[in-house]
């Protein structure tokens, strides 16, 4: 029984980090219908920001999380202006974004690889190797702090979406783009800022990832499928769904890792993706798909 509870604790703590990693991806899809395959490389870029701030100035990654978020927010705005803005009026915009974001991912992969090489890195604040014990149970401090920080950022995001004027504009644009325009929302501006926020969330997640996982630029290829499975399970564009998807799959992966083997843990996400697409392609919270 203790093992069972232990696995759930570890799964949920990691799920919190996954939830933050996926939240930006699902937000950007919800508002702009961009399937952002470059999201994981932006997480890695955010991880490098925190890594270097830790290495050069000894800045704790949780403290540097807002800096990573702001840096990546600015990167997001620049990428959007350079790559997506001029294509926004295209009838095949959503399909095109898959190719465009893939190209952006390749470019950032190359840039980061050239700048920092593909050496595995990890920030090592003291708590990253410590744990809190409750009898037979333990919680790794790194995962616990990362999980709490993730959920705090997500709570702030939900409050922003729920209670602020700009949050209303984002939610309205997510639900009905034309209607939002008719209510006076500048959907072009909403798109730019939302993309920036999405990439900023990737940056914030990157700061936490920097001490929870070892990372290197090419690692983002592995995370694309993981993040997609979280988002698809919850329902594309549904923030609550992505959070729940992250908690469920991370816990499931923790069970697989313990009882079947660590190497099979990642397969949990891939298998889940297949099963979801076969059984309930709209995900847990998604709207029913229209039949063509």
């Amino acid at each position: 029984m203790a093992d069972f509870i232990q696995i759930i604790i570890l799964g949920l703590a990691l799920g919190g980090v996954y939830a933050l990693m996926a939240s930006g991806l699902t937000l950007v899809f919800g508002v702009m219908r961009i399937v952002n395959l470059a999201h994981p490389i932006m997480i890695i870029a955010g991880a490098y920001v925190s890594y270097w701030l830790f290495r050069l100035y000894g800045l704790d990654p949780i403290v540097s999380m807002p800096i990573a978020a702001i840096v990546m927010f600015c990167v997001g705005i620049i990428v959007y202006k350079l790559v997506f803005e001029r294509e926004a009026a295209s009838a095949k915009y959503s399909e095109m974004t898959v190719l465009l974001t893939f190209a952006v991912a390749m470019c950032f992969d190359g840039l980061l690889g050239t700048a920092f090489s593909n050496t595995q890195r990890i920030t090592s604040p003291s708590y990253a190797t410590e744990a809190i014990f409750f009898g037979d149970l333990f919680i790794p401090k790194g995962q616990l702090f990362a999980g709490i920080a993730s959920l705090t950022v997500i709570a702030a995001l939900v409050a922003f979406l729920q209670f602020t004027r700009f949050g209303y504009a984002i939610r309205a644009t997510t639900q009905n783009r034309d209607a939002a325009q008719l209510m006076g929302v500048n959907v072009g501006l909403v798109s730019i800022i939302t993309f920036g926020i999405g990439i900023g969330l990737a940056g914030a997640a990157g700061a936490l990832v920097s001490f929870v996982f070892s990372f290197f630029p090419a690692k983002h290829w592995e995370w694309i499928a993981i993040l997609m499975s979280l988002v698809v399970l919850g329902g594309m564009g549904k923030l609550a769904g992505a959070i729940l998807g992250a908690l469920i799959l991370a816990t499931l992966a923790a069970f697989v890792s313990t009882y079947i083997g660590t190497t099979w843990s990642t397969m949990t996400f891939f298998l889940a993706l297949f099963v979801i697409l076969l059984v309930r392609p709209q995900g847990l919270f998604g709207d029913p798909l229209e039949e063509s």
């Binding site: 209303y168 939610r171 034309d178 008719l182 209510m183 006076g184 500048n186």
Partner: protein
């Protein structure tokens, strides 16, 4: 009477498709209810979308109080004073009735004014008041249309454009919708509406415009259109009297 809104030689269409508006001309006077009628495919809804900024003109111009508004974004046109309720009602199905009303006043900067107007609408339309916390997507068709039209009261625009407000509604509900149209006019707004049910639309309007194949064929008092035998035969479904 001063012209509030003028459309001159407007040409517009969707994507790379053919022109739907082929030189449309329209003039709207302040304080009136004006009804646009015409057969399917005449370009009535397209004209409204073009005025609202959802569809760019290929040529021609649209002026509000003499100022050109074609080429502006929909949010800019709303700020100029034109509010559009499309056929599909433009509601946010997963937001509550109150949140939809709040979105209706998105351009208002003063939260106190916004709050007062939302309260006014919820009092003026008790059905909406009772369902203020309910998701808009769960309302009946008539209630959704009521919400879409009542929402225009929040911004108090100069012109309210309604595309097929009676579409899919029971006759009793249609009467309620036209009560709202008259309420809008009494509050000083000009109403421009497109109506497939031409007799109902014109009966509730001061002026009318007949559109066919993207061109305006006639514009004048609604009573003249209703009594014109040629228009009756072509657009109102009434046979001409045998000589």
């Amino acid at each position: 009477m001063a012209k509030l809104l003028e459309v001159k030689d407007a040409v517009a269409g969707y994507g790379r498709g053919p022109d739907i508006l082929t030189g449309t001309t329209l003039s709207v006077e302040a304080g009136h209810v004006q009804c646009i009628i015409g057969p399917n495919g005449a370009g009535k809804s397209t004209l409204m979308k073009a005025i609202a900024g959802l569809l760019p003109l290929r040529s021609g111009e649209i002026r509000l109080h003499g100022e050109r508004i074609d080429g502006m974004r929909p949010d800019q046109i709303l700020r100029k004073g034109i509010c559009f309720v499309p056929q599909e009602r433009a509601l946010f199905g997963k937001m509550t009735v109150r949140e939809n009303l709040r979105m209706g006043g998105f351009i208002l900067d003063d939260p106190h004014v916004l709050g007062r107007r939302i309260d006014f609408v919820l009092e003026a339309f008790p059905i909406l008041g009772e369902r203020a916390a309910q998701s808009a997507g769960t309302l009946s068709g008539g209630q959704q249309q009521m919400l879409a039209m009542a929402r225009t009261l929040i911004v108090e625009p100069q012109i309210v454009m309604l595309d097929e407000p009676s579409l899919g509604l029971a006759p009793q509900i249609v009467e309620q919708m036209y009560d709202i149209v008259h309420m809008l006019r009494e509050k000083g707004m000009t109403v421009l509406l497109v109506e497939q049910n031409a007799v109902v639309g014109l009966s509730n309007a001061d002026r009318g415009s007949v559109l066919d194949l993207g061109k305006t064929l006639f514009e004048g008092p609604a009573s003249d259109i209703l009594s014109d035998p040629r228009i009756q035969e072509l657009y109102l479904g009434k046979p001409t009297q045998a000589a």
